[in-house]
C-alpha cells in the first residue's frame, strides 16, 4: 500500500485535529477536577462557593432555593447515582483523589464506613446543642459516632406499606395487613385472584429492606461496647425475618427483582406487583416512577408496615445525612447549607414541592410543612404524613450501624444472586456475618460475636 501525498497530508491534518481534541478534553478534565474550588481562599469579599454531591429526590430544587436566598454562600450541586448504585464508590474515589465535594449525602447505614475510612470531617464544633435538639433523637444517635458529630440528618425514614387499593379489593382484601401473618395470607389471596399478581418484591441487590425489617423485630446488628464491636447479624431476631421472606420467595409469593429497576417499575405499571414495603421517602419515588403510567394516580394508598404482633413497630429504611468531606476547607459554609436544608421550612418546602420527594423530616417541627407541600392526588387525597408520624414514633431505639456495612451489603447481595439456584436469604446473612467479622478483624478491631 502506498500513501499518496494528498492522503498523507490529510492524515496529518486529521492527527492534528485529534491532538487538538485530546488537549481540549484534557483541559476539560482539569476544569472538572478543580471543582470550582477557587473562589474561597482567604477572606475575600465574594461569596463562598461550595460543591455538593447528592441524589435524594428534589435536591436540585433545594439548592436553587438556597442559592437564590443566600448571598454569602453559593452551592454548586452535582447529581450522582444513589449510594448503592455507585454513588458511594464515586465519593470514595473522589476523596482518595483529593477532589471530593465539600459536602455530600450519605445514608445513616454508610456513615460509619465513611468515618472509618477517614472520608468525613468531624463537625462537632460546628453543631451546637441547640441544633442537635431540633432533630429526632434516633437520627442524632446515628450521626454521632465515638462521641463526635459527623453529619446532619435530613430525614428519619419510618417504614410503610404502599399498596394498590383496587387490586387488594379485587382479591377480597378489605383492610391492609397489620401483621406479617396477614401479609402472607394476603399474598396468597392476591395470587389466587390473579395468578400473575404478587404482593411485593424481594430486592436481591439491596439488603437495606431486610436490615430495616430486622431492626423492626428487635435485632441489633452492631453494638459498640467499650472498644469492642458486638456483631450479631444472624441473631434469632434476624433469622425470624429471613425465614419468613425465604418462605415468600420459595413459594413464589413475592417477586425477586432489582430495586427501583425498569423491571420493577414495569411490573408495578402492569399491576403485576400490588404493594411495596418501603419507607416514607418511597412515597415520592413511587409517585414519580409511575408518573407516566396512566391510571396509577389515585389507586395507591399507604398503611403502617405490618409487624409481628400487630402493634406498631418500625425500623429505619434508608435515611440521608449531610456529611462534610475530610479535606474541605469550607466546613462552616457546608454546615450552614446543610443546616438550612434540614431545619428550615424553606429547605423542606422546596424539596417536597418538587413533587418527587415525600421524605419525613428529621426535624419533627417541619412535618406540617412537608405535609402541606406534598400533593396527595396520587394517594387519592390520603393524609400519608399522619401514617408516617405514627410510624416514626414506633421506630425502635438503640440501633447502631457498624463500620463494615459495605462489606456486609456486598456479601449479602452477592449471595442473594444465588436465590434461584439453591441459596437462601438466611445463608446470605450467615455469610455476611462471617465476612463482616473478618473485615473488622483485618482492620485490627476487637470483635465479639
Amino acid at each position: 500500500m502506498s500513501i499518496s501525498p494528498t492522503s498523507a497530508r490529510s492524515r496529518r491534518a486529521r492527527l492534528a485535529a485529534v491532538a487538538t481534541i485530546g488537549a481540549l478534553s484534557l483541559s476539560l478534565v482539569a476544569a472538572c477536577g478543580s471543582g470550582g474550588g477557587s473562589s474561597s481562599n482567604g477572606a475575600d469579599s465574594g461569596p463562598v462557593t461550595i460543591t455538593f454531591w447528592g441524589w435524594a429526590k428534589g435536591t436540585q430544587d433545594v439548592v436553587n432555593a438556597f442559592n437564590s436566598s443566600h448571598k454569602d454562600v453559593q452551592v454548586t450541586f452535582q447529581q450522582i447515582p444513589s449510594g448503592v448504585a455507585g454513588g458511594y464508590a464515586k465519593i470514595t474515589d473522589a476523596v482518595k483523589a483529593g477532589n471530593a465535594p465539600d459536602v455530600f449525602n450519605v445514608e445513616y447505614a454508610a456513615l460509619p464506613d465513611f468515618v472509618s475510612q477517614g472520608a468525613v470531617q468531624d463537625i462537632t464544633k460546628l453543631v451546637p446543642d441547640s441544633l442537635k435538639a431540633k432533630y429526632l433523637p434516633q437520627s442524632v444517635e446515628l450521626t454521632t459516632l465515638a462521641g463526635k458529630s459527623w453529619g446532619l440528618p435530613l430525614d428519619a425514614s419510618p417504614q410503610a406499606l404502599f399498596y394498590r387499593k383496587d387490586l387488594f379489593a379485587q382479591a377480597g382484601i378489605t383492610t391492609p395487613p397489620t401483621t406479617w401473618d396477614e401479609y402472607l395470607a394476603d399474598a396468597q389471596k392476591l395470587k389466587q385472584a390473579e395468578p400473575n399478581t404478587r404482593i411485593g418484591t424481594f430486592f436481591p441487590d439491596d439488603p437495606s429492606t431486610l436490615e430495616a425489617l430486622s431492626w423492626q423485630n428487635g435485632a441489633h446488628w452492631f453494638t459498640g461496647v467499650g472498644d469492642t464491636w458486638n456483631v450479631a447479624l444472624n441473631s434469632p431476631e434476624t433469622k425470624r425475618v429471613t425465614d419468613y421472606w425465604q418462605q415468600l420467595v420459595s413459594n413464589d409469593l413475592v417477586r425477586v427483582q432489582t430495586s427501583f429497576s425498569q423491571q420493577w417499575v414495569a411490573s408495578l405499571q402492569k399491576g403485576e406487583t400490588a404493594a411495596y414495603v418501603g419507607a416514607a421517602w418511597g412515597g415520592g419515588v413511587l409517585q414519580s416512577d409511575l408518573a407516566s403510567s396512566p391510571g396509577a394516580a389515585g389507586k395507591w394508598a399507604v398503611a403502617p408496615v405490618p409487624s409481628w404482633d400487630g402493634k406498631p413497630a418500625s425500623g429505619m429504611l434508608g435515611g440521608t445525612t449531610f456529611a462534610v468531606s475530610k479535606d474541605s476547607k469550607k466546613a462552616k459554609a457546608a454546615v450552614e447549607f446543610a443546616t438550612w436544608a434540614t431545619t428550615t421550612p424553606e429547605g423542606i418546602q422546596a424539596r417536597i414541592a418538587s413533587g418527587t420527594s415525600s421524605l419525613f423530616p428529621a426535624d419533627p417541627e417541619l412535618v406540617p410543612t412537608a405535609k402541606s407541600a406534598f400533593k396527595t392526588d396520587f394517594y387519592g387525597g390520603q393524609d400519608i404524613y399522619s401514617v408516617f408520624v405514627d410510624e416514626s414514633k414506633a421506630i425502635l431505639p438503640d440501633w447502631q450501624w457498624g463500620p463494615a456495612m459495605s462489606v456486609a451489603n456486598s456479601t449479602m447481595s452477592d449471595a442473594f444472586g444465588k436465590l434461584g439456584s439453591g441459596g437462601t436469604i438466611g445463608a446470605a446473612v450467615d455469610a455476611a456475618q462471617q465476612s463482616t467479622v473478618n473485615a473488622l478483624k483485618t482492620r485490627g478491631l476487637k470483635v465479639a460475636q
Binding site: 468515618v115 464491636w229 423491571q263 414495569a266 473485615a439 482492620r443 485490627g444 478491631l445
Partner: protein, 320 residues
Amino acid sequence: MTRSRSAAPPRGDNAASRAATVRRRGRSGAPALLIAPFLLLFTAVMLVPIGYAVYLSLFTEQRSGLGFGDARTVFTGFGNYARALGDSAYRTGFLTIVQYCVLYIPVMLGLSLLAALLLDSVLARAKRFFQLALFLPHAVPGIIAALVWTYLYTPGISPVIGALNSAGSHLDLLGHPLPAVVNMAVWEWTGYNMVIFYAALQAIPREVLEASVVDGAGPLRTALSIKVPLIRASITMVGMFTVIGSLQLFTEPMIMYRTAPAVVSSWTPNMFAYTAAFDRDDYGLAAASSVMLALVAAALSFIVTRLTRGRTERRAEAAA
C-alpha cells in the same frame, strides 16, 4: 544507508573517519530521541502505576477503638496476597474466566472465520458492505453495547424476551449471565477478528489458489484444506490475544451487575479488585489481586510470544 555511504565523494582518511563518528553519534542520538516519547509515556502510565500497585499491595490499614480514629498503615508483606488467594470469591472469578473462554472463543473464532471465508470466496457479493456491516458492532463503545444488551435481556421490558415468552419459551438470561456475557462479546468482536482473518486470506498467493483449482478442488475443499491451514498463524494469534483479553473481562458484567443478581460483585478477578478498592475500601487487597492478575496475563503473553516466534522461525527454517 549503504548506498549513500558508497556514493559519498572520496575524502581524506581523517575527514572520512570524522564523518563516520558524527554519523554514528547521530545514529545513537536519533533512536534515543525517537524512543523518548514512548518511554516517557510508558513510564508514566505503565511502570509508575504498576510500581505503586505493588507498593500498595504490601500494606494494610489498621485502626483502633471502634474504628473511627485515625488509621495506621502497616506493612503486611504478602498478607494481602494470601487474603486474596484465600478468598474463594477471587478463585471463583478465575474459574468464571475459564468457563467464559471455553464458551466464547470457539464460537467467536468459528463465526469470524466463517464470515472471512465467505467474504473471500468468489461467490461473495457486496464485499465492502458486509465487511463494514460486520465490523460496525465493534465501533460501538463497550459500555453502550452492554447497556443495550442488558435492556434486551431484561424480562418485562425487553421486546425480544417478550416475544420469546409469548412463543412459549422462558429464557432467563439474567439468571444465566455466562451465555449472556458471551453473546455480547461475540457480537462485539466477531467483526473485528473477521477483518484480521480476511486480511490474512487476501495475502495468500493467488497461484496457490489457482493450483488448487487446477487440481480440481472445489470452493469448500479450498477453504478447508488450503486457506485455513495457510492462515493458521493468524488464528492462533487471535485466539491467544482473546484469552489474554478475556482475563480483563469487566465492562459487560459490571453493567449487568446491578440488573442481574446472578452477576456477583466479584464475578471476574477485575471486578473483585474493583469491589475491594471502591466498595470495601480495601486498597491493599485490591492491589494484591490486581498484581496477581497482571502476572497471569504477563505469563500468558510470554507464552504466546514464544509460541508464535517459534512458529515463524520454524517456518523460515523450513523455507530455507
